[in-house]
Point group: none
Chain length 222, copies 4
DNA sequence: GATGAATGAGGGTTCATTCAT
DNA sequence: TATGAATGAACCCTCATTCAT
């Protein structure tokens, strides 16, 4: 809407506009993290951002779009925080990844409870964003374990795994974080083993067995 | 609200009132099964029930209450359909239970997708109803397996298990039911094994190990 | 919406509702007679009617519908007031008709200026209502003169005649009614003669010539 | 606003500014020709002109002023196209004038339907522009026929004539131009005769009778 | 118990205009 | 002169609830 694709350096005014946009996005994240979609008014967001409410339709495209954008934004942040590394043994990298994921949720508890771990509220665009994020997370783990994420036998089990992680994280946060993060990570890895075992039951492949062994290795060590 | 606790036989008017109440509840189930909470108006429900919309606040206590009641009602139906039997080996009873659960979901796809497998929408009361149902389901399975549902080490894993089941059912329904129900049941039992194993990791007990063996028995047999 | 087709006598409440509907319609007529469509708010109308503004969407269907309804209503009143009689010589009946028409406009100057003599404002539905009324008026006069209103050669001239009447009435009202109504009626009859003569030019028929003679008769007498 | 009255040659910037002004005016003509006043936004016009919408208030004085200016502009074009010539017999000149008028309408159908033949929309300034144009047209014809346009007896009839022309043109355009332009011109002349006859009825003068004879001459010739 | 007319708070959006750059 | 970000008033509509009948 503002920033052209030309290489021209952004003028001061364009920067100011981007700043305003950011203010709105941050305010939206804040509001939607604390109250359900329907309980947040555009006035709340604008007030929280300290700008006129009309700007909400100027920079975004109404409340729904802004909500979807906020969801995408928090997802972006989460992914950036839990980015898989490329060094070290697979199991270690997996552990680091899940730990970072949990740490992010813990550090953004409100957002986690209301935007990340909560299924589609309000709008279709947001629902798609949820799906995309979940899919993306599954793909990342499959890549790490050398699995084909498009294997139809993996689809359901991995979704189950993903939902189990979300729900345990949610309840963990809501009940005062009764365990160490490391314990949750172990639990998630156990869930992951279960999911892969379930995939094996549906249609066994060497890759699945290998992945299972990698995960079990960690198990016997503990 | 109407029916007194006295043993007096209900008058004709009271019966008619109960009838109306039922019509509203059924209509609510229908509407909330097809559209998200916010998209359903009390007018929709009343029209669908064929009564005046003012009755909604008379028999129930506004839209939110009715929604919560609808959630409770569908849960009641689900529990009735998937009631655990008392005869036969544990694993078999579990299998029958899960099969019935899935069959119910399949027979009430809309309600399943929008009322049973969907997390808190709209209102707190409904959120509590969701929680209650989930807790209840977990308790039932724990009883069956001889586990103490109040064991804190079971709390999180079982919630994860429960969420995994819901999500796999949801995706199974939405993607054209790509597997036999029996295959899903096996998957759920595998998830359950994983959950109990995770509980063992947190705090092993003999009961957990026994339950695990019961489940594994089925595994080796297959 | 309210009144069923059954023969049942309307209850008191239904009568009260109709009353409210009438209040809104009258208020709408008042408002739209004084300010252009865009300058009238639903709040104005509701306030003027002394009811809650929500009723506007309850009884009618939003502002546009109400506007269209108001247009139809004033047209109905005008037609009722200028209804053609069936007795007496043709020319006399025509004169009575036009006189009554003008008298109505004079008695409802605001409505005349803004609702009757003004072309489509605001909405399509209203535009159609204008067209319908104009068509209706032309048909009535054609019937009186024994002309076929569907004769294509009459279409354009009669529309021209109709527009000429509206405009002269409009200007007459706006400039302080500088002539007697009878003088305007004569002018309109002269216009009508011109229109029929124009139709003759396009495609002469005996009926047209006869009508012309009827009108001229009045002329030679004066 | 820009161009000073001094003889100084316009700078390049002033020329560019005039250029922008023209672009806006053309865009406004285009937009207002296609949609009713209220449906056109300043953003539409600016986008269509390819300039920033802020310029609209800079070069003109808001949306209403621009609308009035667009109306004046199209009227200017129409008058230029239908300018009365000074050679030849009166009736011929009249015919040429009306023909050119109709040809202009036919060549600018959208503008004709929405800006020229449509009564006051949106704003007072535009309404006055309409009035001025109509008056101007009547004056021109009166001059041609040697009539005193300020004769009060002519006022109403000539307005009726003018409205009849507009309406027949409007309907002719909207119904697929079912007649030759020459036929419409004849019709208009018939209307004009009627108007002058009506004026005679109100207050006969030699000038009116002469004009009538001039027009009738054409009639008997055809 | 049942009706549905009435209420009115509250929402999101649009949009002409202003003004700093 | 040109830009377009910012403003905020104003609008229409939806809808859960109330309550007289």
């Amino acid at each position: 809407m503002t920033q052209s694709v030309t290489g021209k350096p952004p003028t001061r005014r364009q920067l100011a506009a981007q700043e305003t946009r950011q203010k709105l996005l941050r305010a939206a994240l804040e509001c939607f993290s604390q109250r359900p979609y329907a309980d947040v008014t555009v006035g709340d967001i604008a007030r929280s951002a300290g700008v006129a409410h009309g700007l909400l339709s100027h920079h975004f495209n109404g409340k729904e779009s802004l909500y979807a954008e906020a969801v995408r934004e928090i997802d972006r942040q989460l992914r950036a925080a839990a980015k898989l590394t490329t060094d070290g043994p697979v199991l270690e990298r997996l552990r680091r990844h899940l730990t970072a994921h949990l740490e992010f949720l813990a550090e953004h508890e409100d957002a986690a409870l209301n935007l990340i771990l909560r299924r589609a509220e309000g709008t279709d665009a947001a629902g798609e964003a949820f799906e995309a994020t979940r899919r993306e997370g599954i793909h990342a783990i499959c890549r790490l374990l050398g699995l084909d994420a498009d294997d139809p036998a993996l689809e359901l089990p991995m979704r189950g795994y993903s939902a189990a992680c979300d729900e345990t994280a949610r309840h963990w946060l809501r009940s005062g974080r009764p365990h160490e993060i490391a314990a949750l990570v172990d639990m998630w890895i156990t869930f992951l083993s279960g999911a892969i075992r379930a995939a094996c039951d549906l249609a066994p492949t060497p890759a699945l067995n290998e992945a299972l062994e990698v995960l079990q290795a960690g198990r016997s060590r503990s």
